[in-house]
């Protein structure tokens, strides 16, 4: 049974893909720091049991919010430039200042969009599971199947 959620659009776009879910904060620096030089699409954050060693760049990442060192935005921006960032970022909470900076800089300076919707709510994150088919609409509607 599918369920629809409505969030706030940070970077708009239409996309269908599969979910990858983290129930703890997404530590972007820890995720990419060890892999960026070799353009690894894996999550290298050993403290994130949901994501560690999973492939990010073919997934829609569902997360509460970003955490960790403030170089995180730079890593996310460069991950997008190198094709190893998630296809889209769906936040259950309000975006954090670190990850959203990378997302915006990537859009403004590199013309590379990571479709981003935030404030989708706790129910979204508790319902969505790894591999679920997700459709994102331009207006911030997210349909989980």
């Amino acid at each position: 049974m599918s369920k629809s959620f409505k969030g706030r659009v940070i970077i708009n776009g239409k996309l269908t893909g599969n979910a990858l879910v983290t129930h703890q904060g997404f530590n972007i620096c820890a995720t990419y720091f060890r892999g960026i030089t070799v353009k690894s699409p894996l999550c290298w954050d050993q403290n994130n049991k949901d994501l560690y060693q999973k492939t990010l760049n073919d997934k829609i990442l569902c997360l509460p919010k970003g955490i960790g060192s403030t170089t995180g935005g730079m890593f996310l921006q460069c991950a997008a430039d190198n094709g190893i960032a998630p296809l889209a970022m769906l936040y259950s909470e309000h975006v954090d200042s670190v990850s959203v900076a990378g997302i915006i800089i990537s859009d403004v300076w590199n013309d590379k969009k990571i479709i981003t919707v935030d404030e989708l709510g706790d129910e979204f994150l508790s319902m969505v599971q790894d591999g679920d088919k997700i459709t994102i609409e331009e207006d911030g509607t997210v349909i989980v199947e």
Binding site: R34, I36, T37, G68, M74, S97, V98, A101, V108, W109
Partner: protein, 430 residues
């Protein structure tokens, strides 16, 4: 966001396309957080990223655009530690080659930083607020900083005001001289939704307590009570060092940008529990919570029973007080065991001006060197970014370094025992 006429002109591209992109980035960033306007910055600047790595090329292209358009920061800035030191940390030929490969764009990047306003080549430290470096914001000053350990320190211990900006947002804001007004720049957001009650039987390790708090409150502001039993006032170096390490751990294990310690930090001294929000939650920290947290840290060595070959101390960079502390602790422990030097190569990480200050007493420096200890101004996380270094059994007392590398965490007393004996208590090689 409501922009002034001049800001609007920049936003619309009347000051050129590069400044337009810079302004659009700042405005869109501020809009995400409900900022109503831009405010002038009136304090100094520090830049978070000193490291140039393969894979970050789009950053250098952006900086080239800024430089070619003639922009630099309103005030000169300090920046984080230099990512390599192949003199003060023993480095094999293979490791050297790998460092030079990973950090290949470093010289290009240094030139870019100097063009954009870097003070000089001595100004590399994550703890730029140490007196020997002297990039010390004043209470109430509005800043745009990004280094997470420095952000939490200047907010909490110095009472300055900055959000946890992401890398290069801080550069853009300091070129513009303005930042979007939201978050920790505003009084109401410096209040605490968490009361953290320290009920431990002894002073908890600051690096572990910071990790406990960061994991619990994530990005919220905690008001910490019960910790003042173990601390003296904020002018005391030991207190400053403790809060420096606590904050860095809270910022890297969570996303804490500001904490208050009752009867200790400046805003807690001024406002007390009025800083608590009406609907605050309470989190109690007991000895068991501390113990459980330490046990939860994964060991990421290839072989968990390996004997450590390197110890990195100083993330964030050590203060002079902490360098002296480790010097005296190591001396005492070696004397107790009738030993002349450490069993494990040990590096104390701190800023160049702190090293220069320590070296003013050449006898101390000579003795420290004889113990097998070196002083380096590099960054342990950047060191461990070299996969050849990451594959070695390295130990640290830094929770931030533990979070971002394969180095294994030990609390100070255990770390001291290991570097002197060469063995981990309870390990197979003991």
């Amino acid at each position: 966001m409501q922009l002034t006429q001049e800001e609007l002109e920049i936003f619309n591209g009347e000051k050129g396309p590069v400044m337009q992109k810079l302004m659009q980035t700042i405005v869109r960033f501020g809009d995400c957080f409900g900022a109503k306007k831009l405010v002038n910055l009136d304090g100094p600047m520090h830049l978070v990223n000193t490291t140039a790595m393969a894979g970050l090329d789009s950053i250098y292209d952006i900086l080239d655009q800024l430089i070619e358009a003639g922009f630099k920061t309103k005030q000169p800035f300090t920046t984080d530690p230099w990512p390599m030191d192949m003199v003060n940390i023993k480095t094999t030929d293979e490791e050297r080659a790998e460092f030079l490969r990973i950090y290949e764009p470093q010289e290009r990047y240094l030139k870019q930083l100097l063009a954009l306003g870097l003070i000089n080549e001595e100004a590399f430290s994550c703890a730029c607020y140490l007196p020997q470096i002297g990039n010390i914001p004043k209470e109430g000053q509005r800043l745009a900083w990004a280094e997470s350990s420095a952000v939490v320190y200047v907010n909490s211990v110095l009472g300055a005001r900055t959000n946890r900006n992401s890398a290069y947002i801080e550069l853009f804001c300091n070129i513009l001289g303005k930042a979007p007004e939201f978050g920790l720049l505003k009084d109401e957001n410096r209040k605490a939704p968490w009361l953290v009650d320290i009920q431990t039987s002894k002073k908890p390790n600051g690096q572990v307590l910071g990790s406990v708090i960061g994991r619990k409150v994530v990005e919220d502001v905690p008001y910490i009570i019960g910790l003042d039993r173990f601390l003296t006032d904020i002018s005391d170096f030991d207190t400053q060092d403790y809060l420096k390490d606590l904050g860095a751990a809270a910022a890297s294990n969570g996303a804490v940008g500001l904490f208050h310690v009752e009867n200790v930090t400046p805003e807690a001294l001024r406002y007390g529990r009025k800083l608590l929000l009406d609907d605050y939650q309470t989190f109690v920290v007991t000895d068991q919570v501390i113990e459980d947290t330490v046990v939860s840290y994964p060991v990421l060595w290839n072989n968990k029973d390996d004997t450590p070959v390197l110890c990195l101390i100083g993330c964030p960079h050590l203060s002079l007080n902490q360098v002296n502390y480790w010097y005296h602790q190591i001396e005492k422990e070696l004397n107790n065991r009738n030993m002349k030097s450490l069993a494990v190569q040990t590096v104390l990480l701190t800023a160049k001006p702190v090293i220069s200050e320590f070296k003013k007493n050449p006898d101390d420096f000579e003795k420290l060197s004889a113990f097998g200890v070196t002083l380096s101004n590099t960054c342990p996380i950047m060191y461990m970014n070299n996969p050849l270094c990451a594959s070695r059994p390295v130990i640290t007392n830094s929770n931030k370094a533990r979070t971002y590398s394969t180095s294994r965490f030990f609390e100070d007393s255990e770390l001291l025992d290991i570097i002197v004996s060469g063995k981990i208590k309870g390990g197979k090689n003991e």
